[in-house]
Structures are given as structure tokens and as C-alpha cells.
Amino acid sequence: MITRFKTWYDRLTLWRMVTLTLLALGLYAGVIRFTRGLGAATHLSDSFPWGLWIGFDVLVGVGLAAGGFVIAATVHVFRLKRFEPIARPTILTAFLGYLLVVVALFFDLGRPWNIWHPLVMWNPHSVMFEVGWCVMLYTTVLALEFSPLVLERLGLTVPLRVVRSIYVPLVILGVLLSTLHQSSLGTLYVIAPDKLYGLWYTPLLPVFFFLTAVAGGLAMTIFESFLSQRAFGKKLERSLLEALGRAGVVVLGIYIVWRLEDIAGRGNFGLIFQLTPESSLFWGEILLGAILPMVLFATPRIRRSESGLFFAAVLTVMGFILYRLNVAVTGMTRASGTVYLPSWMELSVTASVVAMGFVLFGFAVRHLAIFPRAEVASPIRDRVSKPSRPPRGTVPKGALAGLWLLFIVGAVIVGAGLLESPDGSQASVVPVPPGKEERPVALHLPPPFLFPPSEDSHGPVTFDHRSHVDERRPRCATCHSELFSLLRPGQPQAGPWTYESVHEGALCASCHDGDHAHAMDECDSCHRAED
């Protein structure tokens, strides 16, 4: 037992501490969110109902898991079998990605216990309905695509054979479902032409969301191969990753040209050159997140160097994240009239969802045959030094440092732009000239109301609105509906209709106190014989 404890203690590395801290913060935020509501945990509001959890956890999360269907199709449909070594980790990433998106959805949905409702309550006109179904079905497909690894490990040959026999139709179904919902996440915003800023709104949102998901998925596959190399000492499939980079050039190229052409076609090209928070974030997204990585991927010298390939992939992923956040947050800000910045609780939930992804990935690698055995240098625990990585790169370190600097400076500028108030060019409300002429408005007050006298009453009381209301400027809310019902004449709201409540309590006496209105010292002033 003591040895076990020591082992556990030894394993508490810096990254594990960070992970545990993030998970703890996320747990705390989760408790607040589920006990006191979204308002207590987030900076969301009636003016800004979708924030970081939708923008990052869902839109980015689903998109970055797109490597799963791209690689699965490459290997199993197009039968480029040489990509097989990276298929398993990519499908694992996708599977975990979708599981975590569902976890994040539980935080964002106001009534997550109803998450199954789209299964039985249909609305085919809703993009959200379609996305919900696709994500649910695709997560199932991913679970099946992933299942051979678990079944292998458990030695269950019969189910393994069943899954293998339907593998190709499964992959094709997965590709179809992915195509649908990757694009439909963009379609969600097609119904908001007045809210999403002109640099991002277009009926082609589904096309651009699909293209960027493919590019982002490819880049993510490269990125995670590098991470696996560092973390697990996995051999780097350099020629394969280079090929993914080349594919990235094509996808990014199509996307950039089409995107710019669409902005121009919609007459919004001028917006790019106005100095606004939106345009600076747009530049960051397109220049640093799409054009620059495309050029880097397209340059053989850079693509063949490990650091160049890694950097280009990181830029693509960053550009992808920025695009999704620009649609979900930046582009929606101006029309909302508010500035949304996520609360620390939103950030910590997002961070702990990401951390959970890393933990689960590491767990799966350690227990399942994610990588071919020979390729893993040594179990992570026993590794003392990092695997030697000969500096194969031909790109000078200085140039890369410069690019990183450019990226960080860009991110800071872009971040500062976000903080700016978005009211720059918003149409200011012109002071309204006073009404053309004072118009007498006919006021139809209810007819006098006769309160039935009780047996020992001094006399009946007739209530007349005319003696209680300034007919030029009536304030109905003074008595309605706090004291008396508006809808049922004569019906008191503040307590029962008794001598005390009328003469001393919350009804008539609340105004007739000698201060706000004449006191009730003379019975005849209200109790009068009928005219």
C-alpha cells in the first residue's frame, strides 16, 4: 500500500497539478451553474444569449474533431491505406471531442435533462433539430468506429467481426452525418442576417463552416501527432503529416478565395478596410489563420521541417478557432449593443472540458492499442528524458520566433479590439422633435363603481376614476394592480375587503392618509347617499 501511495505521489507532475486545478475550478463553476442558474455562472444576458460555451465548446469542439471523418474517409473509402497509422488516434480524438461537446452542452442548455426531447419532439424546420440528430447519430457512429480497439482489448471476437463487416457503410454514414452537421453549425446563424456582422454573415456560412472544419481537422491531426510524440514518444509519421499539410493548402486555398469573393459579392469588401474591432479580428482570422498557414504548408522547405509543419498546423487551428469565435461572439456584438466577455466560471468550465479531453486521451493511449506497439518509445511513467528529436528543420529558428511574435502581437491587438466598445458606427438615436402638435387624446375611464355597502355602513361609496386621476397624465400603476385589480373592477389585490383594510390598511388608506391624499376623517366625503 505504501509503495502505491508513493507512486501516486511521484506521479503528481506539474501538468497533473494544472489539470487537477482546472477540473476543481470547473467543478465549482458547475455547482454554481446548476444550483443558481446560468445568470450566476456566466456573463450571458438577454442581449447576448450565446457565449463561450456555444462558441468554443460546441462550434470549435465539433470542428476540431473533423479530422475523424476526413481521415476515416481517406483510409476506408478512398483506400489510401498508408494513412492507416494515424486513423486510430484521429478517430479517438473525434470520439472524445464529441463526448466532450455533449458534456459542455449539459452546462449550456438551460434544461439539460430535456436533452433527449429532439428524439421524440420533431421540428424538421429547425437547424438545431438537424444538428442535434446528426451529432447524436455521429457520436454513435464514432463509438462504433472506435469500438474495435475496446473489443480487441477485451478479446470479444464475435462483436468485433460484426463491427468490421459493417465498417465501410459505417464510415460512409459518418462522413455524411459530419458533412451535414459541420455545415449546419454555420447554418444556425443564417437566420440572423441583422445580427451577424457583414464580414461573417452570408448564406454560404454552411459551406465555409464545412471547408474550415476540413482544414481545421487536418491541422488538428498534425498538431496532435506532435503532441503524441512529445507525450508518449510516438514516432512521427512525417511523410503522412506532410501529405496532410499539402491537402491543407488546397482546402485553405479554396476557402480563402471563396470567402473573399463572397464578401466582395455581398458588397461588404469595404468593411475589411474600416478600422473596427471586427476588421482587426477578421484580419487576424484570415491573414494569420488562413493565408499565412497556407503559404507555410505550400512552401516545401517549411513543410518538410518539423517546426514549420507544427507551426503551420497551430496557425490553422488558431485561425479556425478565431473564425468560430468571430461568428459566435465578435460578429454578434455590435448588433447586441453590449460587450460580452466570458466570466471566469465560463472560462474554467471550458478549460476543464479541454483538460478532460487530454486526460481521457492519455488514458486511452495507455490502455488501448491506439498507436502500433513498436511506435511508442516507452511507457510515459518510466521515461526520464524526452525522446531525442534531431533538429531536422531547415527553417531558421529566428524566423519561427519572429512568426510566433507576430502571432502573439496579433492576438493581443485582436484581444484589445474585443474589449473596445462596439458602438463605433452604430446609428445614434436622433433626438426626436417634440410632437407636431399637442393632440387631445380621449381618455375612456371606466364608469363609476358602486361599492355595495355592508349592513353597518355609514352609506354606499361610489368610486369615480375622474376624481382620482389626472386626465392629462394618468398613472394607472399607482393603484393597479398592486392595490386593485385592473381586470376585475372593484377587486382588491392587497388583502381582503374589510373595514380595516379600507380605513387603516393597505387599500384606500394607503393613499388617503392626510399626506398623499385627504385623510379619512370625514365619513361623508366618501360615504354619500346615492344621488
Binding site: 443558481r36 446560468l38 434544461r111 455524411l176 440572423a192 393632440r439
Partner: protein, 263 residues
């Protein structure tokens, strides 16, 4: 009859009877700002330089909120009002993104939150043959319940009879494909905080244009993928035959679908 409301801003004196009547019939707390729409104020009275504007759900003829709701919690009733069924709602708040008038509000401070908005007093008044509480309470007739066509006719008459008194526009006649709540005003609507950039085409068509193409996308790309797979798989198998790894007969026996009909 298509139930509708005509609000003539030039007749409104800002007495807030509509706001209070709405709160009374819907049992909403009265201690929140009556000038801003919120989860507890379903009709609000904004004031722009002495002109009072009563805001409420527009009850679009083709409502975006009902179209985007994945579970049909928001629904356009055959009678006209757009109503909300909290037992269906999953809390995705897509209705708030979709509504071009920013009407639906949310119970942010609840652990079991609902979407809140004017529902035209559908159950409590309309379905038992009464008019909504707000129009019933209005002491000046500034906001008036009636049939949409009749109210449009009346609004046109008012503009024609007093062209000096009204801007020549009935807000809601065309906006978002037409709404059940209509407005007349003596000053231009954009000066009163009305969304004047709203499209005249119904919003649900924007997304339906995309969604209705999906069956084609699925069938065409599904067929293409199957075709690609068939071609590449067949090529691979023939390659193995050429390399002598298996005989053609074995290949045909193992995977007859690749060589269908060939002898």
C-alpha cells in the same frame, strides 16, 4: 379572423395600464422595470422624448422563433398567437438568436429556466373569447384588439385622414413577412428604437433554403462515396490478383459485389 393588435403611438399617454394588466393576468412580479422587456415584463413601455412605445411580441405570421425551436416548444397556433410550452423546452435559447425583434427573454437566475414573452393571453383570454388584458385595459384606445385585415384597413384610413399626423407606414404590415402586432406613429419608426432594417421576407425561409437542400446533398454525396469505395476496392483487389496474391476466382468468390455479373 386573424387576431391582431394595432398600437397607435400618437394616442398613447404612457399610463402603463397595459403593462400592469399584463403583469396581473400573467401573475408576474411588479417590482421590475416596466420600461424594459424582461422575463417578468412581457410588455414594456419605452419612452423616447415624450413618445411612449409599447413593446411586446410581434406574433409574426411566420415566426422565426417557432421555426428555429428544435423541439417545438414555441409554436404558432392556428389561431395566430405564438405560444410557449415549457415542458418541451430544452433551454438552447436559439429562439433568442433567431427572433429579429429580440423579444424572447430568459430566466437567467433560475436553475430551471424558461423562455418568457407575450403569448397574446392565448389561454387566459383569447381561447375563451376575450381580448388580451393589455388592449382591454387601455383607457385611450391607443392599443386595440381586432382582426388583422380590419385593423390594417383602419390604420390606412387613419393615415389617409390625417396625413399630417402619421408617418406613412404601418410597422408590422410587411416586416418579417408580416406580424400580428401593428404600429402607427407620428415620428419615423427608426427614431423610436424600432428595427427598421428588418427584412420583409419571412425569416424561416433563410434557413429552410439551406435545410431543404440537404436530402439532395445526402443522396448525391452518399452515392458518390459508395462509388469511390467500389472503384478503389475493385482496383486494389485486381492489383492483388495481378501480383499473384490471390486468384481471380478466389477474389470473385470472396467479394462478389465487386465483380457483379462478370464471369
Amino acid at each position: 379572423m386573424k387576431p391582431a393588435i394595432l398600437t397607435d403611438l400618437s394616442l398613447c399617454i404612457g399610463c402603463e395600464a397595459c403593462v400592469m394588466a399584463c403583469k396581473e393576468i400573467n401573475d408576474l412580479p411588479r417590482d421590475t422595470d416596466p420600461g424594459t422587456l424582461s422575463a417578468t415584463t412581457w410588455t414594456a413601455l419605452e419612452t423616447h422624448d415624450d413618445i411612449h412605445v409599447r413593446r411586446q411580441c410581434m406574433h409574426c405570421l411566420e415566426p422565426a422563433c417557432a421555426s428555429v425551436c428544435p423541439v417545438g416548444a414555441l409554436q404558432k397556433t392556428p389561431e395566430g398567437p405564438v405560444i410557449y410550452d415549457e415542458s418541451r423546452c430544452i433551454g438552447c435559447r436559439y429562439c433568442m438568436i433567431g427572433c429579429p425583434f429580440n423579444i424572447p427573454k430568459y430566466e437567467w437566475d433560475s436553475a430551471n429556466p424558461r423562455v418568457r414573452k407575450c403569448i397574446f393571453c392565448f389561454e387566459k383570454a383569447l381561447s375563451i373569447g376575450k381580448q388580451p388584458a393589455c388592449t382591454a385595459a387601455c383607457p385611450t384606445g391607443a392599443t386595440k384588439f381586432g382582426d388583422r385585415d380590419a385593423l390594417l384597413e383602419e390604420a390606412r384610413h387613419r393615415i389617409a385622414d390625417h396625413p399630417d399626423r402619421y408617418v406613412d407606414h404601418i410597422y408590422g404590415e410587411e416586416e418579417a413577412g408580416g406580424t400580428s402586432v401593428l404600429y402607427l406613429s407620428s415620428v419615423p419608426f427608426e427614431e423610436l428604437g424600432f428595427k427598421t432594417g428588418v427584412r420583409n421576407d419571412p425569416y424561416p425561409r433563410l434557413t429552410w433554403n439551406v435545410l431543404s437542400k440537404l436530402p439532395n446533398v445526402v443522396s448525391v454525396s452518399g452515392a458518390s462515396l459508395l462509388g469511390f469505395w467500389w472503384l478503389t476496392k475493385r482496383k486494389d483487389t485486381l492489383e492483388r490478383v495481378r501480383r499473384g496474391e490471390i486468384t481471380l476466382e478466389e477474389a470473385k468468390r470472396q467479394e462478389p459485389h465487386l465483380f457483379g455479373g462478370e464471369k
